[in-house]
Structures are given as C-alpha cells and as structure tokens.
Symmetry: none
Subunit: 422 residues, 2 copies
C-alpha cells in the first residue's frame, strides 16, 4: 500500500515550525506496517493544495492531509478539495448540530464564522473531532482514499488514533516494520560499508542504512515482515551478523551515548579516572560529567592549556616540552602518567593536539592529535589526524579519546568485557 502525506500551512514553509505532524503520522503508520513514501508540504494557497491533491491521486492508495480545515480565511482545504475533485460544497445539518453543541457546552453562541465548518464537499464521510470544532473528512477519489485532518496537533492525533490508523491497519494486515539503531565509533561511513558489503546481498527483508551524525556514524536496520514476530526475527538475525562483522566498532544502541557507555564500563569495573586535557579544553570531562554518578569514577581533571601549566601541574619537564614539543607522544604520555599519580586513580587519560587555525607547522598540521592512556601496567598511546575546522577537530579528538578509553577497558579488563560482550 502506497501512502502519502500532505501537510498544509504557510508556517511550515517559513521554517520556524518543524513538521511534527508528519513525524507523528509516519511513526504511527510505521508501527502498523504502513510505509509513507512521500510527504508534500504546501502553503495556504488553493492552487498549490489542489495541485498536491491531483498529483497524489495518480500515485497513492491512501493520502492523509493535515491543516486548512479551520474557520479563518487562510483555511482553504475544503475549497481546494471541491475544485480538485469537482465536488460542490454542501451544508451539512448534522455537522452543524455538533458544532452548536460544542459552543453550547461552553455557554456561548455559535460565531457566524463557524458555519463554514459545516460546509463539506459532496460525497464525503465526516470524522468527528473529539478535541476541537473542525470535523475531519474522508472521501475516495478514483481509487485513492483521502483523509483530511485538522492541523492542530492534538486534534490531528486524536483523529489519527481513532479513525485513520484503525482503518489502515485492517488494510495493511499482514505487514510489520521494525527498526534497530546501532551506534559506532572510530570508523567512517565508507569503512563501515566496506565491512558490511559482503553480507548485504545475503540479508533478506532487512535494509541497512548508514547515518553519519556529527562525530560518529549510526547503522540503522529496518526489517519488513508479514507479522511483528517475523520482522523481529529477521531483525535479530541481521543484528547478530552485523555485530559479528563490526565487533567493537559498535558502542551502543539508540538510547546510549558514548560517554554513557564509558561511564558504565568504569562503574562496572570499579575504576577511577583522572583526565589531563590540552587541545580539547575540558570537553572530555564535560561529557563524562553529564552522566549521573560520574563523581564515583572521575576524581579530577586538569586543563593544561599553557606550557607553564603542563610543567607546573603535571611535571612535564621543560626539556621534554622543548625537545619534543607540547604536541608530541612524549608530552602526552607524561601527562597521562602524572595526572594518574596526581589523583591516585586507576587510569590517567591525556590529550594534546593542534586544533587550528593557528599553531600549525609543516611537520605538525592542524588536526594532529595524541591520546595517551596510563594504567599501572603501562601507557598506551595513539596518533590521530583530523581534517575539520577548529570546533570539529576538538569534538573529534574528544570522541576519539572516549572511544580509546572504551576499547582499552573492554580489551584489558576481563571483568568488564565479560559483562559487555560486543
């Protein structure tokens, strides 16, 4: 079944108002196995509404239209329907009585402008509005069923839930759609795709999509089945295969954040942490402290922005700073080890880098970042090269540092990785 949505309203075209009606309808249609194939938004103009209705007839089995049913001059849906489908507007006594009732309950006379609400295109079924005054309309033109709902979100929702969804659910019997979002870190969209390329052909009834977010890529699996159970089974099977191929690159699912996962690992392992940040300027501790209970593992952080502070607070010798530079594996390693000693914690994490636009040299370009992780058994370090602007590089560096910490905890501590198998 091909279902389209048409949302009407100048405010939607000004960009100040997000189209939450379309999102609500799509999500709830998806839940009963109906996929929306197109959403069209037009303004309060008879000509544009008419044209949108016309072209939908040629394609869709069902069309849900919201907006333009109120009593003011910018509510033009009735008129556009009459013109598009060549049906006159007729005054419906039964609809008017419902309107009268509404005003009577509020102890007020019916305003003259409300009479327009009882004018309905010929051959239209009326859907009662449990929340507001404007009735909904349902009609079939050629072989397409049209539902016209008010644009006021509460009224639209109540009519969707009471009339449209039950009706379409019976039409769409025997199909269900289920989603699963897997969040990754430390891997690009193209590399993810290369890893999964081999299995995509073998997967049936599940679509894989790659969604690049700000500083990480999400993989969305969408299963389409003859029942909820069938869809969920294909989803589970596919998720298993995808996880086998992506392993540790997957850090979590829809509701999880990278800092939340890292915090969970530290709490699970009963491990404490100190952080020394230079180029990320507090972003790493800022993200970790978003997580409730972070005071249980985060002892302190230092933002050693100047060379002087690296020397004074973390005992990075002037020799090291001069010989290797502030942005070097040697300085970063020393920072990680000394911040761990300073707070007497299990782990020390340190980051240095050149964020741009200033401070770069031919040997050390903007985007060069060193990350070190100190632990009683030794210090691990890694170099990164990012290619964004200053703020992007900062965020990519913080993301990489949190991800290195996650991988270090998963790979080196049995008690943690047993509980959190990738």
């Amino acid at each position: 079944m091909q279902v389209e949505l048409i949302t009407i309203g100048d405010e939607l075209l000004y960009g100040k108002t997000l189209d939450t009606n379309a999102a609500y309808m799509s999500e709830n249609l998806g839940a009963i196995g109906v996929t929306v194939v197109r959403v069209t938004t037009v303004g309060d103009t008879v000509e544009h509404i008419e044209e949108a209705l016309h072209s939908a007839v040629t394609r869709a089995d069902a069309v849900i239209v919201t907006g333009g049913l109120g009593p003011t001059p910018d509510d033009l849906t009735r008129q556009a329907v009459a013109q598009a489908f060549g049906r006159g507007l007729v005054f419906r006594e039964d609809v008017y009585r419902d309107i009268e009732m509404r005003w009577k309950r509020r102890g007020k006379p019916v305003p003259e402008s409300a009479r327009i609400l009882a004018h309905v295109p010929e051959g239209t079924e009326v859907m009662k509005n449990a929340v507001g005054a404007a009735a909904g309309l349902k009609l079939t033109h050629e072989r397409t069923i049209f539902f016209f709902l008010p644009g006021v979100p509460d009224e639209m929702r109540s009519m969707m839930d009471d009339c449209v969804l039950p009706f379409l659910a019976t039409k769409a019997a025997g199909r269900a759609i289920r989603h699963r979002l897997l969040k990754t870190a430390g891997i690009t969209e193209s590399a993810l795709h290369e890893k999964l390329q081999g299995i995509e052909g073998g997967i049936q009834a599940v679509k894989i999509a790659y969604l690049p977010q700000h500083y990480e890529v999400h993989v969305r699996l969408t299963a389409d089945g003859t029942s909820v159970k069938v869809a969920e089974n294909s989803l589970a099977r596919t998720e298993k295969v995808v996880r086998e191929h992506l392993g540790y690159y997957i850090y979590g699912t829809a509701d999880e954040s990278l800092e939340g996962v890292v915090a969970g690992l530290l709490l699970d392992g009963g491990m404490s942490l100190c952080v020394a940040e230079s180029c990320t300027g507090g972003l790493i501790t800022g993200r970790l402290t978003d997580i409730p209970g972070s005071s249980k593992f985060l002892e302190r952080g230092v933002i050693v922005y100047s060379g002087k502070s690296k020397n004074e607070m973390l005992s990075v010798s002037k020799e090291t700073l001069e010989t290797y530079g502030t942005v070097s594996p040697e300085t970063t390693k020393c920072m990680a080890e000394n911040v761990m000693m300073l707070g007497r914690t299990d782990l020390g994490l340190a980051v240095t880098g050149i964020m741009g636009p200033s401070g770069e040299t031919p040997e050390k370009p903007a985007g060069l970042v060193y990350i070190s992780l100190a632990h009683a058994d030794g210090t691990y370090d890694k170099e990164f090269r990012f290619a964004g602007d200053r703020v992007t590089n900062k965020n990519l560096a913080a993301q990489a540092a949190l991800n290195e910490l996650r991988l270090f905890l998963l790979k080196n501590f049995k008690q943690i990785s047993n509980r959190r198998t990738p």
Copy 2:
C-alpha cells in the same frame, strides 16, 4: 521566484527524524526574501527521487535538494539525476583530487567506495564541501536551476550559506526582508517581553519575535520594505530603541556566541584567566577554548570534582569544606582566589553546585549554584537556583558563569567598556 525543496532520506519518512534541513533552508531563504512554496520528502528510492525531480521542473524556478550524495548504496541522488534528466555520470578528476586531499590530510588511503563521490552527472557545476567529502551539484534543466546538497546538516548549512543563498539573493530583487538577531543572557523570555512591551506599539514595519533557545533567549527583528535600504533603515531605528531598553542583557548578534564575546573582551583588555570548575565539569573551559586564540588568555583550568582535589589542588582547607560544604560561597570564593594565584593570572573564575539527581539536601536543593570571580581588587560572588535536569542545570551554570564574567569585565574595566558600548 518559485522555490521548492526536496529532502531525500528514508529516515525522514519513518518519523524518527524531524526534517530540520528543510526548516533551516526555508528560514534562511525567507531572510533573503525568497518564499519556499513546496517541500517534498521522498525515501531512498531512485524511482521516487526521479519523479520528484520531474514534477518540480514543471513548476519551480529553483529547486534545492538535500540528501543521497554519500558513498553508500542507499545514496541514490546521482543516479536519479542521471535518469531523470538523461545525463550520463562522468568521472571528474578535479573532484577526485579534492577527495584524495581530504584523506591525505588524515594520513589514510582513499577507500574504494569514495570513488563514487567523483561521479557527477554531465553538464553539472560542482560546489565544494568545506566540511565533508561529498561535493554539491548545481545544474539547470529546462529553465529550472537545481542545487543538490548533502543531507548531513553541517555540510548542507555550509553549502547553503556559501553558494545557494548568495546566488538566490541576487535573483530575488524588488522586495526586501531583513532580519536582525539580538542575543541576550541572564534574562527570561517574559522579562524581555515586559521590557519591550511599551515600545512594540510604536514600531512600524518591524516585527519583534522572542525565540527561547536552549540556555538563552534571542530577540528577532524582521523588517519588510520596498527596498533593501528601506528595510535596513527601519531595522536600524528599531534596533536602537530595543538596545536602549535592554542594555547589557544583549550580549551579541547573530554570528556571536557568549563565549566568543567573553573571549573578545578578555583579549581586548589583555587579561588572563584561570578557571576552577566543579559541577560544570569542564564545560566553561570547553566553551572558551572553542574560540581561536583562547590560549592567549586562558592559562589553565582545573576540574576539582572530588573534595580531595579541591583541597590538594586549590588549598581549600578541610575546615572550610567541612564547615560550609563543598557547595558554598566560602568554598567557591577560595577556589576562585587560589586558581588565580596558581596560574598567576588577572582573573580567577570558580563554580560549584548541585546538579542532581543525587546529592541534594533540604537546605541545598539540586540546581543551587555558586559562582565566584577573583581579581586583584577583591572577589565577587553570586548565587543561582536553576530548575532543570542534570544536563540543563550544568549548561545553565556554565552560561551564567560566562555571563557574570562578561558583565564583570564590562562594568569594571573602562578600557574594555569604552570599546564595547552595549
């Protein structure tokens, strides 16, 4: 000029993702006097994209399309353009060289899948992507100009701002709409409205809107005139009156951020700063270091999350901590003064607070925050009470700290406030 938008992506039809790209484009087109007449959203299906392109040609003067330009199999825009407009895809060496450069800067080989990004429909102009790998496309079919932009919001925005908006602005003459955004800090939406209520009636041809953002409120002035000059004159007159009424509450305009303004004041005054954060966990230094040149004023920061670290790093005595508590004006004052001494800077800023959900007591509820500012002439402090959840409170505390720093600099240092009259 009839402008339409086409947004591509299955995720937009599932209802999980709101179409913020369409909103951004509409709003910014409106700002240059261009009204969007239709938005069409289709999924990742060649047939549906092709049809949307076809029908737009018959109606629109310009069409902006987002999404489907990435390297994975669900990115189908190139293919749909080729089919819809009967143009072959050609491999463009110049585009591929830009892609190679991007990977080279990150010290990595170009993945095979990235080659697809250099395949461009014949007769297409390429728009460079300052943020990501996928180039934008611009072509004219019949008499309609098409712009194809990536769906990743940052990339779409940068290409809209750099290419699409300047191009369409020159096309849209005759009527001019001009906006001015004034950003405020330390005042609520209702308080702003009360301050401006008296003048709203006297203003002609300019609309005032209040836009509450995450942690601050923006005031948008919109002037509508018969020419750019007329609109800009009404705007300038209104802005002057609004500024007289709001004074120091306005910290900047559209392109400015609170941290950027604070950084500017510190640089102007040649003043240096150390920051001691407890409850904000690095957020304040994180924001300040987003600004290029922040190393010129930010000497260091400490995140003294534990009581132990407050004592060890900032010499807050155990007596003070026990008598007044870690969240108290006494502790915060001591932190501000001692962090200033530690870095031998002109200013010391300190924040403590209870962010929730844990840690609150009847006397010290979640949302209680103390901010102290130390300077050679003495220490200034202030209490705040916020009512959000953990992350909101953290952000409100960082916002308040930056704003207090701004006001302190403006009010106490003539050399600064002379240059920056509110």
